[in-house]
């Protein structure tokens, strides 16, 4: 049990610790070049085929870990097609994406509130 707790704490520390800085400008180019937008949207907003990744909660290491061995239907990208540094840059770009305003502050979305 102790081992399990330790593993969970270690994993959380790895995935959510402060990430090293990447090059957001290069990350934007890679985001478009390597097709991240195809499932996650140009704004990282997510959609039918991919999760929302704008302002992602994972740190860069966590993102790399996930991209190499995704849990869902996302294709696995090896370091042969996207290097760790490139993913770090993409991560930096994702951090620059705007978070959503609260729906209550968007009048057109208020029309859907019942």
């Amino acid at each position: 049990m102790k081992q399990l707790v330790f593993a969970a704490v270690f994993l959380a520390a790895t995935l959510f610790a402060q990430a090293p800085a990447g090059d957001a400008a290069n990350g934007k180019k890679l985001f478009l070049r390597d097709g991240c937008y195809e499932c996650h949207g140009y704004a990282g907003q997510g959609g039918r085929d991919g999760a929302r990744i704008a302002a992602i909660g994972l740190n860069a290491q966590g993102l790399i870990h996930y991209v190499r061995a995704p849990a869902g239907a996302m294709p696995a990208y090896t370091d042969k097609v996207i290097t760790d540094q490139e993913l770090t840059d993409i991560h930096a770009y994702l951090q620059t994406m705007a978070k959503a305003k609260p729906a209550k502050d968007i009048p057109l979305l208020q029309q859907f509130q019942k």
């Binding site: 195809e38 959609g47 057109l108």
Partner: protein, 649 residues
């Protein structure tokens, strides 16, 4: 969408014309006259000597009139038959193999009931009939060449087949070789015209007489409209169309009475068993496929869900259930102890998961809870073909009722009500209250998700849906397109409550369906004054964009909003998957899938076809005012298009 059970037969038009036609028999081609004389002789007189009539014809000088005409071609009788079937419209791209019927429809038939719709592609004709049915609840007729026209039409026929939609297809063909006047007519003739689509039509016939045409035409309508509904094909021989009605036939041709068959309801014992399983269940879930054939189907499904306080999982194949209802989307198949599938064509897919495309190998796993029971009511169990595989994987269910679900629902509701005690009713009400909370949370989650990328360019599909709803919510609207490729946003946000609010999807996912199906559905909405809205995928429109002209030409009011993501995006994602699997070139998936360089100017395309248009719009703040301007055009009875550059999904 209700239809009458019987359509009375009006023979007056034919008989009146037949009298005039008989008077004109003296003026006809010699070859035809000889053929007819031979035909008349065979059954009536064994004496080879010429009769008085023939002798007179051979010894009297020919009259000074155009002898190559008749006022009673066989196609007039075919139109008499067609008129008894109650079609409002016939869609066609003109073709020589049915030129006789074409002429009879517009002149003898007065181009009314049915009215001819000018189409630019046979795929458009069929898909228009497909969309029309899903609003109007009755078939549209389509005419096409038996060879090249049918080849164009075939994909759309398969979509209609997989979507259980009756399309009434009449093909022209010159069956008898010596009657083919050129190499063109030889190339455009076929021994067995319907064979090419027999794998995905319900019934066909190639009658060789006008009497046979009448019987087969009426039979075809009955078969097409009996659940499971499917397309049918009748081949109209060109010689029968174009030659005069044989004199011997004129007094005896009849049009049979059409009596539609009542839909098959489920076996009573099986229905009672299903009711007991559902009432005893702690967490039943109802999966809705193509349940509602008519508005009554929606009311019945509401009654069943409320009687059981069971969640509805809607497959978005028809307008089955109000999205505003507290039981809508409030449960999952994985959480159910009894799953009821109503007209669900892919029940195995509903109850299983498979290895996704990002992994090697293939494994499947049942997602229902251990011990969970599955019941199906499915008209597809009454009919099937083997070659095309739209029937899906065989699913092991606990109770399969081969019947039409809507026709079975009254008995099922009644049996459930009989079994529910007052104690049980109280428990069900508690369950319903919990489900209502789930439904409410789902909606709140969707609204929060819609805010992401709100001001982004390209425009998010959620923003596009919200901008549309802002102006549609006070109108009598009808969404005449699918929602699969826009992340289902309209279905997640708008209030779908009326039978014509939604028409479902393609059937067989054959791309090219969207634009013409929307035009057909909008045509059905026209007489009701509804605002038809088509969220139009760019790749889909490029198959046969001429349907925009058809919409403009026939003054079909509809608002087309381009979902212009500038790609065959589903395929782009698949190629990306394959590249990642192969560990190479993930930056090259756009090759062969992107629709860029140059970008297509859809507003200009629409203008070229005579349609009001605006765009391309990539700033979301410009969208609302553009929709307003376009709606003003639509309210005047015209189609309009706004080209919106959108996010991929």
């Amino acid at each position: 969408m209700a239809r009458s059970k019987k359509i009375s037969v009006d023979r007056r038009g034919f008989l009146k014309g037949a009298a005039a036609g008989a008077a004109a028999l003296v003026a006809k081609p010699e070859a035809a006259k000889a053929q007819e004389a031979a035909e008349v002789r065979r059954p009536s007189t064994p004496n080879p000597l010429p009769g008085a009539k023939q002798s007179a014809a051979e010894t009297t000088p020919p009259p000074h009139v155009d002898v190559w005409t008749t006022d009673r071609p066989g196609s007039d009788f075919m139109v008499d038959v067609i008129k008894t079937l109650g079609f409002e419209y016939v869609a066609a791209n003109p073709g020589s193999a049915f030129r006789g019927i074409h002429e009879s429809l517009i002149n003898y038939g007065g181009n009314k009931a049915p009215e001819l719709l000018t189409c630019c592609h046979e795929e458009s004709s069929i898909a228009m009939a497909h969309g029309y049915y899903k609003i109007e609840g009755k078939p549209m007729m389509v005419m096409a060449h038996g060879t090249v026209g049918l080849q164009h039409a075939s994909m759309a026929i398969y979509n209609a087949y997989a979507d259980r939609v009756p399309v009434y297809l009449l093909l022209g063909n010159i069956q008898d070789g010596p009657w083919r006047r050129s190499d063109v007519e030889w190339a455009h003739s076929v021994q067995d015209a319907a064979s090419m689509v027999r794998d995905y039509t319900k019934w066909d016939d190639s009658p060789v007489s006008l009497g046979g045409f009448a019987e087969s035409a009426v039979r075809a309508y009955k078969i097409a409209t009996t659940p499971p509904m499917e397309p049918v094909v009748i081949v109209a021989d060109a010689v029968l169309q174009e030659e005069p009605i044989p004199e011997a036939d004129r007094g005896r041709l009849q049009i049979p009475k059409l009596t539609l068959a009542s839909p098959p309801a489920g076996d009573y014992g099986a229905v009672k068993q299903a009711a007991k399983m559902l009432v005893d269940a702690e967490n039943p879930v109802i999966v809705a496929g193509r349940v509602a054939r008519t508005p009554e189907g929606i009311d019945l499904l509401i009654q069943l869900a409320e009687t059981l306080q069971a969640a509805i999982v809607d497959r978005n194949l028809r307008m089955n259930f109000p999205t505003t209802h507290p039981l809508y989307g409030a449960g999952t198949v994985g959480g159910a102890d009894v799953v009821l599938g109503l007209e669900v064509p892919d029940m195995w897919q509903v109850t299983h998961t498979q290895t996704p495309v990002n992994k090697f190998g293939m494994e499947s796993k049942r997602i229902t809870k251990p011990g969970a029971k599955v019941i199906t009511i499915f008209a597809g169990d009454l009919f099937g073909k083997s070659n095309y595989q739209d029937f899906g994987r065989y699913d092991e269910v606990d109770l399969a009722i081969a019947a039409d679900a809507q026709a079975t629902l009254p008995a099922l509701i009644e049996e459930c009500r009989k079994l529910i005690t007052s104690d049980r009713k109280a428990a069900l009400q508690q369950r319903g209250a919990k489900l209502a909370e789930v439904s409410k949370k789902n909606r709140e989650r969707d609204i929060e998700q819609a805010a992401w990328g709100w001001d982004a360019s390209p425009v998010t599909t959620a923003r596009m849906a919200a901008e549309l709803w802002n102006q549609l919510k006070t109108e009598d609207w009808s969404l005449v397109s699918d929602v699969t490729f826009v992340s289902w946003w309209p279905r997640r946000l708008w209030d779908f409550t009326k039978p014509y609010h939604f028409i479902g999807g393609h059937g067989a996912y054959g791309v090219g369906y969207g634009a013409p199906a929307a035009v057909g559905a909008a045509l059905a909405n026209k007489k009701h004054g509804r605002i038809s809205v088509n969220i139009q995928c760019d790749g889909d429109l490029n198959y046969a964009p001429g349907v925009l002209w058809t919409a403009a030409h026939h003054r079909i009011p509809m608002l087309n909003i381009m979902h212009n993501n500038r790609a065959y995006h589903q395929e782009l994602m698949y190629v990306e998957d394959m590249a990642a699997r192969a560990r190479r070139g993930v930056d090259r998936a756009w090759i062969g899938t992107a629709i860029t360089d140059p970008n297509i100017d859809y507003a200009m395309m629409a203008k070229a076809y005579g349609m009001f248009s605006e765009g391309p719009i990539d700033n979301p703040n410009d969208l609302g005012p553009a929709i307003k301007r376009a709606l003003e055009v639509v309210k005047k009875g015209e189609p309009a298009m706004i080209d919106v550059v959108t996010q991929p999904r």
